[in-house]
Symmetry: C2
Subunit: 185 residues, 2 copies
Amino acid sequence: MKLLKESEKRGRPDIVHFSLLEALGSPLNREGLLQVYVHTFNDYVISVAPETRLPRNYERFIGLMEQLFETGKVPQTGQVLLRLERKIMQELIAGIKPTHVIAFSRIGSPMILREVMTKLSAEKRLAAIIGGFPRGHFSQVTTRLANDMVSIDSQMLETWTVISRIIYEYETTISLNKKRLKRPS
Amino acid sequence: MKLLKESEKRGRPDIVHFSLLEALGSPLNREGLLQVYVHTFNDYVISVAPETRLPRNYERFIGLMEQLFETGKVPQTGQVLLRLERKIMQELIAGIKPTHVIAFSRIGSPMILREVMTKLSAEKRLAAIIGGFPRGHFSQVTTRLANDMVSIDSQMLETWTVISRIIYEYETTISLNKKRLKRPS
C-alpha cells in the first residue's frame, strides 16, 4: 500500500510530523509493505524510506526538514532516508503504478472504512491519498487521479487519525495481525 | 470506555502529547463516550475533559503541563479541562468503577484486538490501561488491577498506535462509524 499526503496547503508541518510517526511506526511499515510520500502544495514530493526513524521532538523534525529542503536528501552520506524532488501529483502517481487509487475526503461518498478496505483487499498496489491540510479539499487534479473518493466520517477527522485507521484496516484485511502474533517476539 | 495511561516512567511527555491528541480527536471522544486519564509514575493523575482542545505545538503543550503542575487545574477560571490530583492507580480505578479492566502489554496473552474488543462489547464501563513509557512493563499493582492483560503484536507498538487502534475497534464494535456516517455533516 502506498500512502500519499498533500500537505502544507497552509503550512502545517505538525500534521506531517504526527502522520509520519503514525505511518512509520505501524506493523505494516515494519513489514516493508508501506511506502509513504508527502506531496506539498507547491509540488515537492518527499519520499520516506520505510527504515526512517523520525525524531519525536518537533523542533528536531523541523531541523531535519530544513536540511532536506536545502540539500535534497537526508542523510548526506550513506543510504538515503528522505529524498526531495519537484514532482506534480500526476507524475508521483504515474511513478507508483498503482492498481487502484483511493482518496479520503469529507466530501467523498460516505462509506464504512472496513467495507472499503475489504473490497480493495485484492489490489496488488493500492495507493491511498489523504489530505494533510487543516482545511479545504483536494484539487481537481488530485480528484481526477483517484478511482474512488470516500468519506469515513461525517465530521473532518485529523489526518493522522485517518492514516492510522486505513493502515490498521489494511493490516487486518491481509491478516497481518494474526501472522505477527504467531511469531516469537 | 475509559482510557488510562501510566507515563513519565522515564519522562516522555511527547508520548502523552501524541496519545492525548489521538484520543481527544477520535469520534468516540467527540460523542462523549471516552474519558481519558493520565497516571504518572510518581502517582499524579491528570483528568482530561472530553472538550479539551490541546495545543498541537509541543512547546505550548509543555507550557500547559507546567501550569497544571503549578496550580492543579487548567484553565484557572471557568470549566476545568485538565485537573491534577495525587492518586494511586487503585484509587483511580476504584473511582471509575469499571465493569471490566483490560491492560495492554507486550507480555500479555497474545490476542487479536478485534476479537478482544468484540468479546468486551457488552461491558457497560470498560477501562483500558495502556503503558505510556518507552520501556519496561506495568507494575505488579497495575497488573493486579486488570481482569485481562493482552498483547496485540509480537513487537512493542507506540502508545499512540495502540490507543488509536483500541478506540477505533471499540467504535466499530458499538457501530459508531455507521451511526455517524448516516448523520448530516
